[in-house]
Assembly symmetry: C2
Homo-oligomer: 502 residues x 2
């Protein structure tokens, strides 16, 4: 049994005096916190944002900066794509399922164009051009990218349109996004207090949340929040005891976080009776180069294909980790996942976009590559033959990869062991050599205004949440940009609702 420090709620009678008094307290200064702080301040509330780190940013600032937006944004239209909130919702329902929140998805998609303009008004720049190939992070400042919308099975349920919007930064745009959002929050006169780790919620006699207790430089301080506390503390990927209890498949992989996703916000709210959803769900950044995978095959330890290689790469990662036992969470051992590609496919991805990935094995024939990689006799031979038949007829009968990416693989063939990883560390940056970098999607149950809901589905007075501390839009699936997306979108709602909670 893992012994953890108990998380308790403090009664106001246990608090001698409040050191700080504000209207709205935002706990955590990533993208969700900044969006919440901005809106709360703009609505006229006194706002304080605290963060345990020495400055703003959190995991948001380390991210690629993609924000999932659509329904007909100016960037989509400039790139020649029609889109509607309904098509966007149909895609997200399929991609974020099972059991993605239909009401949140509908609201998010209906408000997406407005949210785009809100980001632009906060200074976030989007270049109106498209990066048109599978990738984790385009090497350009293109403002639009596909995130699986034009891949099977999503092509069956929604008209494809690219919706990955990215700030105009080469490579990782999270830092730029955070600069814009924190400047907006501070211009709106939200105050900040860093090096402050919130440990307990403070409740009134009627169990309404009226403040917090925090540790700051070894001292305990109490902060009064007259209109509400908004938790934007992130997920729990840094808490191995919580992973073991709820999402053990994610244990042992590289953690995508700023090192502070310890689940504290979830636990503080649960101690007050909050409900949670989908605590077993996780995003899986698989350590492969999507452009190489799309031009070749991805196979499991039996040499079988298991996914269309042109889809959103996080979907390949989830399939590898949750279904193919990469990582070895299930009995049978940590199994390999391989990218198989020929020279033409390898060279088609420019060297800088390969992030240092090289073939781990090269065979003059499929038979030789099979021997070198230790795949079972005949497995790769069969799979290459079948794949090349599909390429010849222009149709992938098994996994429906788009014909654009289907081309017979011509020996010599290279195999890339996904566990050899991607260097340098990137959004898919697997620093431990497990083939995967992960974060959690499960979290607090919230309503459309960010109220935290209790086990019976009623809102808890004075308590709000947004960003990865909440479950947000997500079922067990994931698409890049939906974290910064739902964090900022519902963070804004939470900020507005808290400010009005007089």
């Amino acid at each position: 049994m893992t012994v953890r420090k108990a998380v308790t709620t403090r009664a106001v009678t246990e608090v001698d005096e409040f050191d700080i008094d504000t209207d709205v307290l935002v706990v955590g200064y990533g993208a969700a916190g900044a969006a919440a702080a901005f809106e709360a301040a703009r609505a006229g509330a006194r706002v304080l944002v605290v963060d345990r780190a020495g400055g703003a940013g959190g995991a948001s600032a380390l991210s690629g900066g993609e924000i999932y937006l659509g329904g007909g944004t100016p960037v989509q239209r400039a790139c020649g794509f029609d889109d509607t909130p309904e098509e966007m919702a149909a895609f997200l329902t399929a991609a974020l399922g099972p059991s993605a929140d239909p009401a949140k998805i509908a609201e998010y998609c209906a408000g997406s164009v407005e949210h785009f303009h809100w980001l632009v008004d906060r200074g976030v720049p989007f270049t109106p051009s498209l990066w048109d190939a599978p990738t984790w992070v385009p090497p350009t400042d293109d403002g639009l990218m596909w995130l699986g919308e034009n891949s099977w099975p999503f092509t069956e349920s929604a008209r494809p349109a690219p919706r990955g919007h990215r700030p105009a930064a080469h490579d990782f745009g999270g830092r730029l996004l955070m600069e814009c959002l924190t400047e907006a929050a501070e211009t709106a006169r939200a105050g900040t207090l860093f090096d402050t780790y919130v440990t307990n919620l403070v409740i009134a006699e009627d169990r309404t949340v009226i403040g917090v207790v925090a540790r700051r430089y070894g001292r305990e301080i109490a902060i009064r929040a007259r209109r509400g506390v908004i938790l934007t503390t992130g997920g729990f990927v840094d808490n191995d005891a919580m992973l073991a209890a709820h999402a053990p498949h994610l244990l042992g992989h590289t953690k995508v976080s700023a090192g502070t996703d310890d689940g504290s916000g979830i636990l503080m709210a649960q101690a007050l009776g909050a409900g949670v959803r989908h605590m077993g769900a996780g995003q899986v950044g698989i350590s492969l180069i999507p452009g190489l995978a799309a031009r070749g095959m991805v196979v499991n330890a039996r040499g079988q294909r298991f996914v269309n290689e042109d889809t959103y790469p996080g979907r390949i990662g989830q399939a590898a980790l949750f279904r193919q036992n990469m990582g070895g969470a299930w009995a049978g051992g940590d199994t390999a996942v391989w990218v198989i590609v020929d020279e033409e496919g390898f060279e088609a991805v420019p060297e800088p976009q390969r992030w240092g990935v090289r073939p781990t094995h090269v065979g003059e024939t499929p038979e030789e590559l099979e021997r070198l990689t230790g795949l079972p006799d005949g497995a790769l031979v069969d799979t290459v033959r079948r794949y090349n038949e599909f390429a010849a007829r222009g149709a992938d009968l098994d996994f429906h990869k788009a014909s654009r990416w289907l081309r017979p693989l011509t020996p010599p063939l290279a195999a890339i062991d996904v566990k050899a990883g991607v260097r340098p560390p990137a959004e898919s940056g697997d620093r431990r050599g497990t083939g995967a970098s992960v974060f959690t999607l499960g979290g607090l149950h919230t309503d459309l205004d960010g109220h935290v809901l209790d086990l019976g589905g009623s809102s808890i007075g004075g308590l709000f949440a947004a960003g990865r501390v909440a479950n947000g839009l997500h079922g067990f699936g994931y698409i890049s940009g939906t974290s910064l997306g739902d964090g900022t979108f519902f963070g804004r709602r939470a900020g507005t609702a808290a400010a009005r909670n007089e």
Copy 2:
């Protein structure tokens, strides 16, 4: 958002008077409740068992009655098997993982021979003979059966010994087991009260649990429990809102329960701050005849094999549902799973043991069967060829099915659509035609004495749990007999601990 009735804890000050006074109150009269009641009464406590139904039994009485026992029981020895607690623990760690509870597994295995004798002393009969083929429920009164121990990958980590112990009843033994356990509890002078649905825990000012409030024939009654309340209320497979929040893959399938696994015990304890574990985990009874599967191939919608067909059939079910998208929880639609078998394999399973299953398609050649079943061109042809090569060399290089079950498949070949189901309903009885019948494994976090633990891992005064309301031994894997096994084993511990809680 699903609106549920709020679950609240009642302060003792809100209870006018207690209608009934006892020492130990057991809530739920399945196998765990009966075991707890017996031990609490034997330890000298006044015991009352309540159940919402009109009599004892719950899901336990509807089950096959298997109890997972080993470490060298008399039945194992009589059948010629050596076994040790260490081998048993190694198997369970692999089979119940990821993140199965190591302390509980060690305790359970160390105490397993004693627990066998306890069951025998309660009158549970075990015939000392072995049923030696994969099955859900043997059609004999054999007291011992394999539950995957002699199948890959478990053969890699533990010396195989059969550990499925079953009461001497033809077919389903759960009713006989429950008759023995309830008679034991009542002989030990545990009282019973039926038609009584517990709705709230009652707590003292120090938050210790001191009783419950229940509904009985439309009236609210309060029961004082001076030494403790033991929750044995079952899982939450009958609560679709909880499934959507925690285990959406299980939605829509046949529910293995007595219709009362509504999660009420979990919610009542959570309202008091209890922690939970592995709420996404589920057992999957796949609607196939294990003896047919072992003699043939199980393939997915691409005609690929994905598991060794001679393993514990629940493992095939978990793989089908969680990894092959049978049920369609993930995007891409509800995909088929097929059993492919030839005439010799089909006839080798006696007609009564086929539970009415018939081929849904028959082809004179693999090519014809492929066309009839709609499998992609060439898929089944490749897989049959590869399988027959493995059979010829006596080694399944892909999934390591034991050579005993490897035999070339000779046309004509039959395909059985798993979603066509199994009739009559059985332990694997899929009454809705989805191909699966399911129950939940996640639940309350408990210690070795059945104390319910809070979010920080500290025990909650006066509150115990056992059976499927608790997470017990389980990670995300499952083996038949571990539910009745951990329910009765840790139910006994909880009963003893509660009786001593003066």
